[in-house]
């Protein structure tokens, strides 16, 4: 704070005039947006911490609660579907899914990240209305902060999953790990694209958040999480629906996750050329992310008055 009158004035004279608020333009706007967000990475970091710290702040068990939900789901699915509906492979009986608990928890871990990003992201702009109306920061930081805190949760869940594989004596080894970064990239890019878009649309049409909750529930059953992909494949057998089913990015992500962690399922049916499919999906998702960001940038100019 040592500037005096003259030197500050001289310094300012050397600067270009810049427009207030976000820039228009398709390509240049994108570069500017990325630069703006990068300049606010410390804020992003603090917002992520805020979400994580504030979430279970006053509960005695604290962070345990964020694990309780997936563990409860695991228990429910394992007992209800694995045992009662007989989806689990038991010795001496035909069919079923081997290592059923690991199988389900793998799918749930990937799915939890996806639904956290989408559900949290969709509401993120509305939830931060107070801030958006009073301060200008690149608004993308709010959906992105949800991404950050969701990833934190995911990391812990992933830790449990890895521990579980060790305990069950089938720790995944070798090249199969290569699927993980690829699948994770698809998941994050795809979910971020949707979260950005939905968060902006939700400002104008609050119905979106309720719709999203329902769609997420349907999509959960539309991905091979509690049943195996092989099961779907044998029913549909190369029909158009089968292709469509495989075009769901989350199907690919979940299958890829299972390829990594579900060692017991090595002999089971998997889609062919999974890597190519993932790469193509990643490309499309990136395109989608870019388009979403542009739509977001266009819609955000009226956020403050619509909230």
């Amino acid at each position: 704070m040592s500037h005096d009158h003259e030197s500050r004035s001289a310094h300012l004279a050397s600067l270009e005039l810049r427009p207030a608020g976000p820039r228009a333009g398709f390509l240049r706007g994108t570069i500017q947006s990325v630069r703006d967000i990068w300049a606010h990475r410390e804020l992003l970091d603090l917002l992520v911490r805020r979400e994580i710290k504030a979430r279970y702040k006053d509960s005695i068990l604290g962070f345990f609660w964020s694990l309780a939900k997936p563990l409860a789901l695991l228990l429910v699915y394992y007992v209800a579907i694995g045992k009662f509906l007989g989806a689990e492979r038991v010795p001496g009986r035909e069919g079923g899914i081997p290592e059923f608990a690991i199988f389900i928890f793998t799918g749930l871990t990937a799915w939890q990240l996806f639904s956290d990003i989408i559900l949290g992201g969709t509401g993120s702009i509305v939830a931060n209305a107070g801030l958006i109306k009073k301060v200008y920061v690149p608004r993308e930081v709010f959906p992105l902060s949800v991404l950050g805190s969701s990833l934190f949760n995911f990391t812990i869940q992933l830790g449990i999953l890895v521990t579980a594989t060790v305990v069950s004596g089938a720790f995944p080894l070798g090249q199969r790990w290569l699927y993980l970064p690829l699948a994770l990239a698809v998941l994050i890019v795809f979910a971020s694209a949707l979260a950005l878009l939905l968060s902006a649309v939700n400002v104008y049409l609050r119905d979106v958040q309720y719709l999203v909750e329902i769609v997420i529930m349907i999509l959960f059953w539309g991905s091979p999480i509690v049943y195996s992909w092989g099961l779907v494949h044998t029913r549909l057998e190369g029909s158009l629906l089968d292709t469509l089913y495989l075009m769901n990015p989350m199907t690919l992500v979940v299958v890829a996750f299972q390829r990594v962690f579900w060692v017991g399922g090595d002999g089971e049916a998997t889609p062919d050329s999974l890597t190519i499919r993932l790469l193509v999906t990643l490309g499309i998702s990136m395109l989608l992310l870019w388009v979403s960001q542009r739509i977001f940038a266009r819609l955000q100019s009226n956020f403050a008055q619509e909230l």
């Binding site: 500050r8 608020g21 410390e42 107070g130 801030l131 009073k134 200008y136």
Partner: protein, 400 residues
């Protein structure tokens, strides 16, 4: 040469007020939706250039578009047409403690809020002690802010706000917080900012504050700039506007409320200053005798009424006022024209220009009319004193 740091070119802002919100309403009214929209122009063709190092007060009645303009400068709102261009770093204090999270501690919130206002983490580290010290709540810095009293909350928020390091600072009515010593601290801080050559744009309703710290004031009314210049001139325009509004309200009340019809009609026609010789003047010597003559006219018969006058400085501060009730004089019943003299034996007012207003009120004390700038008077003195009163002090060694 001063550098323009904010250039506002012809901006307008339109808000669309929709009367329907739900899907059902939208479907039912589909195609006729324009009937259910109202346009409201919050700002219309505003053109402003603000130079670096100046302190500008944005003033105007409620709903005149001050805050909207501030939000557009900060980029929170986008103009419907026109553009806003900036130079340098900008920080906007539109609300204290924006982004404070009740579940986080004071310390965590300081970092978060500082980051929102554009401070980097290392800068916050550097200023942290100063911030806590300024707020005066060291003891509670590791307590969750939801347990803070509202005063503590605001102090902490303000402490963060004044430690931001912007070239342009936008402030929206947040200066008047905390107790008096804290307020004084805040104002000192603002003066410090001015000395460092920062540009400050201030929205406030505290008009004396504008006169005190701004070099320039912009008056907005119904979304347009109606005055722009030295605070004194701008304040005068604004006060006239306020007075007009008040008169209109009074007029409307008279027209609509039947009870008010009982209130008689009376106006102050003009106010004059007369010197010792009885001639009308606008320039007097300090300490000289003078007379304030208030001319009243009424359509109705006035009984038990009150007439008064007052003296204001050019920045609008009242320095003197009296009326017939305070003086213990009961006025005769009047219909039509009448004039009353307030005689002042020694006009002990300091050098400067003052405005004189005249007013009439009914027997309950409710004002019937006020002529805000009845006349002005220039007081000349020998320059041995400053201030609004003339005490004629002399100096001599103390006789022990």
């Amino acid at each position: 040469m001063p550098t323009p740091v904010i250039e506002i070119n012809d901006i307008s802002k339109r808000f669309v007020i929709r009367k329907e919100k739900s899907l059902k309403e939208r479907l039912v009214n589909f195609g006729r939706s324009n009937l259910h929209k109202d346009d409201f122009w919050a700002l219309r063709d505003v053109d402003l250039t603000i130079e670096s190092g100046t302190t500008v007060g944005l003033i105007g009645p409620n709903g005149s578009g001050k805050s909207t303009l501030l939000k557009m400068i900060s980029g929170i709102l986008q103009p419907t047409s026109g553009s806003v261009q900036l130079r340098g770093r900008l920080a906007a204090l539109l609300e204290l403690g924006a982004g404070f999270h009740p579940d986080l501690t004071g310390r965590e919130n300081v970092y978060l809020n500082a980051s929102i206002l554009g401070l980097s983490r290392s800068q916050t580290d550097q200023y942290f002690d100063a911030i806590v010290d300024f707020s005066g709540i060291e003891q509670f810095i590791d307590t969750q802010v939801k347990f803070y009293s509202s005063g503590m909350y605001v102090r902490l928020a303000f402490a963060v706000a004044v430690h931001v390091d912007p070239d342009i600072l936008l402030v929206d009515e947040v200066l008047a917080v905390g107790d008096e010593p804290f307020q004084r601290k805040c104002m000192d801080r603002i003066r410090g900012f001015q000395q460092e050559g920062r540009t400050i744009v201030l929205v406030t309703h505290a008009l004396d504050q504008v006169a005190e710290i701004c070099d320039r004031a912009v008056v907005l009314e119904h979304g347009s700039v109606v005055a722009d210049g030295p605070p004194r001139d701008a304040l005068q325009v604004l006060r006239k506007g306020f007075e007009q509004t008040r008169q209109d309200d009074l007029e409307r009340e008279r027209a609509s409320v039947p009870v008010a019809a009982e209130r008689p009609h009376a106006v102050v026609e003009r106010v004059e200053i007369l010197d010792a010789q009885g001639t009308v003047t606008t320039a007097v010597e300090a300490d000289a005798p003078l007379t304030v003559r208030v001319h009243v006219s009424s359509r109705d018969r006035l009984e038990g009424w009150i007439v008064g006058f007052g003296l204001e400085t050019s920045s609008g501060q009242t320095i003197y006022g009296t009326n017939s009730r305070l003086l213990g004089v009961s006025l005769p019943a009047v219909t039509g024209q009448a004039a009353f003299d307030f005689s002042i034996a020694r006009f002990c007012v300091g050098e400067g220009s003052y405005t004189v207003h005249g007013a009439v009120a009914d027997s309950t004390g409710a004002e019937l009319h006020r002529l805000v700038e009845g006349t002005s008077v220039r007081v000349a003195a020998n320059g041995s004193e400053v201030g609004v009163v003339h005490l004629g002090a002399t100096l001599a060694p103390a006789s022990a």
